[in-house]
Assembly symmetry: C2
Homo-oligomer: 439 residues x 2
Amino acid sequence: MLGNNDYLKQKGCFVKKLNIQLLLTGNELMVGDVIDTNSVMIAQQLMSLGLTVQRKVTVADDIELLIAEIDNISKQADILIINGGLGPTIDDLTAQALAQASNVPLVEHTDALEHLNKWCTLRGAKLDAANLKQAVLPAGVDIIANRVGSAVGFKLQHQQCKVYCTPGVPHELKIMMDEQIIPKIQEKVPTSQHYKVERFQVFGVGESQLQQLINDTFEYWPEAVELGFRAASPLLEVKLTIKQKQDEASLTQCRKMLKQILGDHMLAQVTGTPLTMADYVLAQLKDKKLKITTAESCTGGGIASLLTNIPGSSKAFEAGFVTYSNEMKTQMLDVSAETLSKFGAVSKQVVDEMAKGALEKSGADYVIAVSGIAGPDGGSAEKPVGSVWVAWGNKTKINTHYFCIKANRKYFQKVVATRALDLIRRKLLASTEVPNYLI
Amino acid sequence: MLGNNDYLKQKGCFVKKLNIQLLLTGNELMVGDVIDTNSVMIAQQLMSLGLTVQRKVTVADDIELLIAEIDNISKQADILIINGGLGPTIDDLTAQALAQASNVPLVEHTDALEHLNKWCTLRGAKLDAANLKQAVLPAGVDIIANRVGSAVGFKLQHQQCKVYCTPGVPHELKIMMDEQIIPKIQEKVPTSQHYKVERFQVFGVGESQLQQLINDTFEYWPEAVELGFRAASPLLEVKLTIKQKQDEASLTQCRKMLKQILGDHMLAQVTGTPLTMADYVLAQLKDKKLKITTAESCTGGGIASLLTNIPGSSKAFEAGFVTYSNEMKTQMLDVSAETLSKFGAVSKQVVDEMAKGALEKSGADYVIAVSGIAGPDGGSAEKPVGSVWVAWGNKTKINTHYFCIKANRKYFQKVVATRALDLIRRKLLASTEVPNYLI
């Protein structure tokens, strides 16, 4: 039976090596005003050490509930991470709850006070009574510095449990976890169990297809290296995981194999925030000092918007054409009225002319043109909703392709945009690999 | 002290009238693979009854952990809603855990089997062993029908606690909660405590400004009607809440007062999924059989994209111009090279000419034109990052306005787009009210 332990083993976790629990506090979490992303972040950071969260409890800013949970969790867990309730207002109760639960007094903490003074000085603000509250902490805690916010974190050994108190502001939490708490927790993982995950962004190959490619190409895949997948729509994320330091050589070998098999289907290894398809296209264009233009019907400016969301995009993007109606395709892009009436707006001939018109009008080097039926209405037996023609290329050669993408309007627009950008990316790389969506 | 109870009272909740707890199950929730939005949805639905979640526990698909939590929570709570673990795979353990916790056998449930048979027949599929597992439920449960998925929900009285088991698929959960569970829970709320929330989307007025307007305009605001706010960026949501049936008349009175004060700052009362600013603009355009065009520099197609995301947008939108470079402003929109060199691309004169050019080229009735510095680079002392000129209007009259919006690139683009669309909305309404961002 594939129970939790097996699932987590599949994920490469040291099941129950450490019992780690989270306690999240905040009234806004209980009434549906905010979505909890902090615990997702913490879980991902722990996963990078091969550790997993055993249990997660969320309560309002209520002193009795908080004390009861701290009391209960610290009897079971090796590590308790409390998130939220460190702010200056009276409904921030973490310090008070932890003091009462561990039966120590609240005292003004010199290091915390110093941090607050510096924080206020830097901002030309005066330390007020509300801020001062943030320096009043349970006696005996160690401060966890916060280099981006006013609230310091702190930690305390309570019974057999190490309790970390962290700020609710996601940005502050992330830095504190990355720089201070995760390294501390890592010390508890034996170095022999050196856990490592490498992530790669991939597009144009599916999970089962990739697995088959590996089986067909290689006689041997090192058992120590686990291959995993995560759909990061519309991209695919491929993960390689090892669980022991001695497996580094196997990891290197597998990374090479993966790169060899995937070729240009692989976008890049992920380090930090994952990039978007538009990031990859724009980087190449800037690198090669080339410009791109867009001629959009069914994506309605969405592709231009993806490109211009990125800082510095003006270096590679000067103009985009949103031509929703037939008249505008003719007027803005010189698509011939005859072609439109003969083949219809959603046709190979029309996207080809749209692409050529946009290149001509903008003087750009590369072009994407799309015309399709995003739905929910507008389809026919011959051209159902989801039909789309994409053209991509440069002055020398324009390619075209038909897709039928069965999805709701927004997802249709997203997939069309990503495929179109990917096709330009491959063209810029002079790639010979054929993505699965073209087959 | 403003503790949890006071916060919840502010929100108009029947504090601790009912102790409602949630138990969420899923391995994917523990390793950071998914963000939990289900509990947010449940909390919002309960809020609509004036009820709040007391405590929320999340665990992996682990039979022992599940039994322990069910056991513990059913000793404290009046209502336990379990979410997830109803699927056909072996890591779906809710039925098994509830059976063990409440010490009843698992039996094949006739109603559930019938539902599964119908479900499979409708899809031309054959009922297999995995599906069959979904009909094996704790003895004595009542089925909660699922009209959109294969898994039925079920409920059981365990000790003093009513336990509801619900599917993890958000869409299925929502329908089951809306149609069946929320009405059941509502029965437990005394009719004298008739709780009602009305929500209104507002733009162009801030919270404190609105409060001041109310104070200045009316001598009397009925105490029974609570005024609340929620920033639903970039729109503002204003809430009116009453807690007793007898206060319906006061609610009607306050709704009228609010509408009178807000005038065209109020977009609409929210019923169902909140609309976007583009929805409102498009609805008006379609209603009046008018067309709009866009001429975008710093928003790079984002405004066109917001409009064309909406089904049926082709009725009111034919063409959009993304003119990032000066050359393209001249070539595509006939902005004079002299105006550009004399005043710069980010100027009143240039957006005015962009707007006129776009109207001329597209033949549309209304136009939005924007030119600004989205950053992070490209600012100067005279025109810092965040500067933007917006033009809006029709053939008779083009208005222009300068804003400086200090925000990161994406938020800058979002605010510019929303204000520009709002200005067109007001123009279409021939509104005389001045939004605060124009003052």
